[in-house]
Amino acid sequence: MATLNIAGLDKAYGDARILKSIDLDIADGEFVVLVGPSGCGKSTLLRLIAGLDGATRGDIRIGPKRVNDLEPAARKIAMVFQSYALYPHMNVRKNMTFGLKFSGMAKQEIDRRVTDAARMLQLDSLLDRRPRDLSGGQRQRVAIGRAIVREPDVFLFDEPLSNLDAALRVSTRVEIAKLHRLLGATMIYVTHDQTEAMTLADRIVVMNQGEIAQVGRPLDLYYTPANLFVAGFIGSPAMNIFDVTVKSPTRLGGPGLGDLELAGAKLTPGAALKLGVRPEHLRWGAEGALRLTATLELIERLGEISYAYARTSDGQSIIAELRGRETPAIGASASFGADAQDLHLFDAAGRRLNPAA
């Protein structure tokens, strides 16, 4: 069990800065998910924490100790890889015990840990099998078991579910959540899948181009994204974004939108802003602060909900969520509305703007 503190962490390969001055504090027992598009630096950050790569600048502390110069094994971490990285020529039991042999641990203790981990992960009957005789899900459980037997302070997961099929991904995700509850260990989990991020995390770290875009609880990120990047990245389908200009401190206008009134707002007239609204908040036929009409191009029916893809009079694509069986006809013009509380405003630099401040 341990806290993890990262301060001013930089990683550069030649001139390319992969990580730019990362600061992050993780509490004991917390489940933190690093999420972001490919190339955002999330896996690099995980490798630096693991000690598989060296930092260019900055400090990494696990508990009170600075670990920058320690070998991975000395950091009391365990890592689960996307490719499982099981030793192909060793059976399941040897895969789990191989690392422990070198720690000088007593044989009884090793056996106890393997037995416990095998029971926890339902691997009891598979201990004598080789990795090639296991299914994808079983291999992933062995990889997790190999991490558990080390009883590390911090668990690191590098996209552990990406190689599994959809059904197995859901059930393994639930297993990992239960495991976190059971072990109470600090866990850091890298993924590009926002469903995994939203469902597993105590806190999500959204990364973009080597920087942290926002850190927060899943629903905080969803309902109050700190910037345009997070607004667009979290939520599926993505948030609708409109260009608007401030006409008076309480009034906005934009092409295809008409004017909209934000009571109590103190905006700077003349400023160019971005207005965001999630598909689920854009309701068909409803009134609200935001009103727009658009021509329907496509409807995706998912059962309980449908997504309407439409285009406004000035050519901007929008997506709205429809509930119930009734949907407007394709090619017809439909009106949509959203409440003021569901609108997100961002300034020219993409930062969230509080209209009342």
């Binding site: 094994a73 890889f81 499982y84 030793y87």
Partner: protein
Amino acid sequence: MRNLSRAGVHAVLIAYSLLAVAPILIVVMNSFKARNAIFGAPLSPPNAQTFSLIGYSKVLLRAQIGTWFENSLIVTLGAMALTLLFGAMAAWALTEYRFRWTNALALYMAIGIMAPIRLGSIAILTMMRAAHLNDTLMALILVYIAQGLPMAIFILSEFIQQIPQDLRDAARCDGVPETRIFFEVIAPLLRPAIATVAVFTIVPIWNDLWFPLILTSSDSTHTITLGVQQFLGQYITDWNSVLAALSLAILPVVFIYVIFSRQLISGLTAGAVK
């Protein structure tokens, strides 16, 4: 059209196989014939009149033949084992660890593939004499390690690069020491490659005449290929013995090839298909 081109390919392959096998076949065939028959009808197989084991009985009765075989085995197997060990370790170091001289060192090894070691014969001879290693099997082993290393490193590097990075990272996170990562994680996965390199290393060493000729002088350090030369005289050559000894010398190489061939083929194709 397709059948025709396939037949063409097979015709070429069959012709090449015949070309490669025919001399060996003639040697083995004639080793079972009497002296007159060897000269009288060198291309006909032995029959009831011409069959003779005189060559084999002469060769096997000579005391030194056992020693020569033993020397060849010691030199070949010793050089092979050390080439594989050092080759795999060097390949691992050159692919896994980045240090200032990585590229220069890799290039230096590549030059070893291109430049024949025999160019250095005189220097080698002087060095061995200076080290008081002339006329010892150790001298041969050292030379053959130098001869085999560049190719071994080249082939093994290719294979090591194909072992997923995650596996080495996982072992490091597991706290496995670097030497154990090499010997217990990487080396077992290199088995097919090691078989390939083993065959490529063994055959030229076993067949080599040049270095035993310049580095060994006494009967007790001769290898089988050099020993056979004693049957070739300036005025008279004991063809029965020469052919019998050569036929015997083929056996160990064939034996080793049979052991490694399955691994060898999987190693060759693994490298080719990637």
